[in-house]
Structures are given as C-alpha cells and as structure tokens.
Amino acid sequence: MHELAICQSLINQLENIATERNAQSISLVVVGMGPLSGVEAQLLKNAYPIASAGTIAEKAELVIEQLPIKVKCNDCGCESDATPNKLICKQCGNWRTTLISGDELMLMSVELEKDDTDKNHPNINKSGINKPDKSKLEKTQASHSATELKPAANTGLH
C-alpha cells in the first residue's frame, strides 16, 4: 500500500500550489499515470480521502487518467504499443527498446477555487494562506459533477 505514501506526497504538492496561488480550495485534481509507474489507480483513489482529510484538497475530485505503454525500437526506430511485461518492438521483435510512455506518475493539473477579491487582485496576500470561505465552497462544490474513473489497465502487479 505505498499508494497512501504517494497520496500524501500529492496532498503536499496540492497544498503548496493552493498557497502559492492564494486559492480558497481545490475542486479538481488530475493525475496521469502509466501502468509501469508501479502504482494502482484504484488504490490511489481509495487512499485519497484518507490523505486529504482536513486539507485544502479535501473536497476535490480526483481524476486518474491512464497513459498507454509505448516503446521505441533502438534498432528500427518503430514505435509500438506494448504491455507491462512485453516491451519488445512489434515491428522487428527486438527487445532493445526505449520506453516513451507508460511509467509516468504525474500531477497534471488542478482546478482552483478563488474568491472574487483574489481574482481581481492576484497579488493580494500572496504569501499568506487564506481560510476557505465555506459558503462559497458549498455553492461551487454542489454544482461539480463526479467523473467516473476509467478501469485501470492490467499491470500485472499485486
């Protein structure tokens, strides 16, 4: 269950971003990962409510996007799709390939909620941490719909 540790690291990054940009809360978090990152999407999703409890990212929706596994042949240069334990070139069968997609574990983007004052004056209170405005939070969160998590690719792990 190293997903919890990774999720805690994610929350630290989210808190830093929210502080830097003087946001009231975070409504959406998009994480991109490949099957060779060693992390299970569903386990990360399960860990998120635990790691985010009491933080500025507590109410955010976590969307996890699976990136495909792709390799480039070191000999023929062909790029092909691959599976976690078969990273060979589909064109010539060569095993000397370079992974060009599939081991990512990245925070791609976040969606921040700010109050109107901050939107007009982005430099106000740049170094401080604003307390979330609860009435604003409830209003915006209510209109935010959940996105279904895509089925995780079979990584052959666990």
């Binding site: 269950m1 190293h2 540790a5 990774i6 690291s9 994610l10 630290n12 990054q13 971003i17 940009r21 946001a23 409504s27 959406l28 998009v30 994480v31 991109g32 490949g34 060779l36 990152s37 060693g38 992390v39 996007e65 990136l67 495909p68 792709k70 390799v71 480039k72 790029e79 976690p84 334990n85 078969k86 990273l87 060979i88 095993w95 000397r96 390939t97 370079t98 992974l99 060009i100 997609s101 599939g102 081991d103 990512e104 574990l105 990245m106 925070l107 791609m108 983007s109 976040v110 969606e111 921040l112 909620e113 700010k114 939107k119 915006t140 990584t155 052959g156 792990l157 666990h158």
Partner: protein
C-alpha cells in the same frame, strides 16, 4: 524522469498532456493550473540530496531489493566475510519490525543501522536521510541498503543509491521478472540467489529468467550465486569493484557542485552542506 527539464514529456505521451490533449481540460468558472509534477518529486529531491552525500565521500550506495526470504541478509553476510577487507562496508537495514537483520550484520563487526518502518512496505529517501545522520560516511567505501522484502513498493522510491540490485532466489520461480516488471525494470543487476538449489529445483531455468528480463527490455546483467557455498560470489565482487571504479571515474569527470541548503535539524554526524 524529472520535473525541471521537462524530460517527463516525451513525444510518446505529449499528445495526452500538452494543451489541447486529452488531459489538458479546463472547466468554466474555475482556474485550471497545469502542473506536470512528478508525484514523487519530494522523495526524489531528498534522494538527490542523499546521493550528493554519498558522492562527497566517494561512497558507493547499493540498494538491495527482493521478495522476503530471497537471501539479502545472507548475501550481505557472505559479502562482508569474503570481499576485500580494504573495502569498508556499512549497512542500512529496512524491516517492518525487529533489529534481527542489523544484529546479524553487527556480529561480523560491521556498522549496521536498522530502520523499523512500522507498517510501511518500503524505504523512502527521507528514512535513508535520517539513517545517514548516524553514519559517518568518511569511514566507509560501500553502503548497502537492504530494502524491505517486497517486489512491488520499493521499486517506486529512489533512495539516493547508485545501483539497484534485485535478488531472484531459485525457489521463487524464474518468471518473477514477468510478474513484477516495474521492480525488474528498475534493476541494474539481477542476482539469481540460492543457486545451490538449482540441481533440486530444476524447474527454475536461468535462461528463462533471462528471457523474461529481455521481454521487459532490461539489459541488466544476471549473475548466479550462492551465499551458502560461495559459488558465483567472485563475479558479484568484481561487479561491486567495477561500480566503485566507474563512480570514482565519473566523479573525476563531473566534480560535485556542493549543494547549499539549510537543515532545520542538528546532525549527530557531520557532513558538509556546501
């Protein structure tokens, strides 16, 4: 992959990540911020810091990983006994509980620091950094880090080591690289341990393990060895010595730029921070 130079964006995944891509979407009424940070950047930052400490003292750091019971501690004991005595060894042991492994190492007169991870299934760079506070690196040439026995989680965490070595013991079966591709992809050297059991467990075919490693595009060398009867140990020692030489040569060509940062804590052992 790193966060600073953008090397985590390749032409293989950029279509998904860059503006207009599948993952780059903005909903109205909210501020979307593109980040593209590795989730483990905090760990990786500390790992880099650890590696700088090792390099300042020209210490080779080897991260030993395997399933529980594959023979990591036995390999270390045999290595301590048989490796050239002029190579000074220290060991950092990671286990969920007990000091048992550290005590086994200490019986050989070697400094061992035990990290009890509690419920954590892996070591991370912060734990190693803590351990380094109790280790005067100027007294050593090699630091072995014996990771928690686990073929899944440790693969995701850079500790600041120079080389990852994964043990695949004969009783485990030769298809472990296919079952745990993330771990074996991260390995710089694979040791088929308990090779003395090959005659009785003849369904383990070293050649098949090699094939599975090639299937995951790994060019890591494979050595067969037995800590019990010492067969194959010399090749392991030669590999270690080669790594020490390679690292020293690298550091000659790429002198360290001493890192400058402040620590909020006091070190028991001194190490320079530039």
């Amino acid at each position: 992959m790193c966060d600073t130079c953008g090397c985590n964006i390749t032409h293989g995944n950029e279509n998904f990540i860059k503006p207009g891509g599948k993952l780059h979407k903005t909903e109205s009424g909210k501020e979307a911020v593109s980040v593209l940070h590795n989730l483990l950047s905090e760990n990786d930052h500390t790992a880099k810091h650890n590696r700088e400490h090792f390099d300042q003292h020209q210490v080779l750091a080897i991260n030993l990983m395997s399933s529980p019971g594959a023979g990591k501690t036995a390999l270390l004991e045999a290595t301590i006994q048989q490796l050239d005595k002029n190579l000074r060894i220290a060991v950092i042991e990671g286990d969920l509980e007990t000091e048992n492994d550290a005590e086994r190492i200490r019986k050989h007169g070697v400094k061992a620091i035990q990290i009890a991870t509690g419920s954590a299934c892996h070591l991370d760079a912060h734990m190693i950094h803590q351990a380094l506070h109790n280790l005067d690196l100027s007294e050593f040439d090699i630091v072995f880090i014996e990771n928690v026995g686990n073929l899944v989680c440790p693969a995701s965490f850079d500790l600041g080591q120079h080389q990852n070595v994964t043990l695949l013991s004969v009783p485990e079966g030769d298809d472990k690289p296919a079952k745990y591709p993330v771990m074996f992809r991260a390995s710089d050297l694979v040791l088929i341990s308990k090779s003395d059991l090959l005659p009785v467990l003849d369904d383990f075919k070293p050649q098949r393990a090699r094939q599975y490693l090639q299937d995951i595009a790994s060019s890591a060398p494979i050595l067969e060895l037995s800590s019990k009867n010492s067969e194959g140990m010399q090749a392991w020692f030669d590999w270690i010595k080669q790594q020490i030489k390679t690292r020293k040569d690298y550091l000659l060509q790429h002198p360290l730029v001493t890192h400058s940062h402040s620590h909020e804590h006091v070190h028991q052992q001194t190490h320079e921070h530039g």
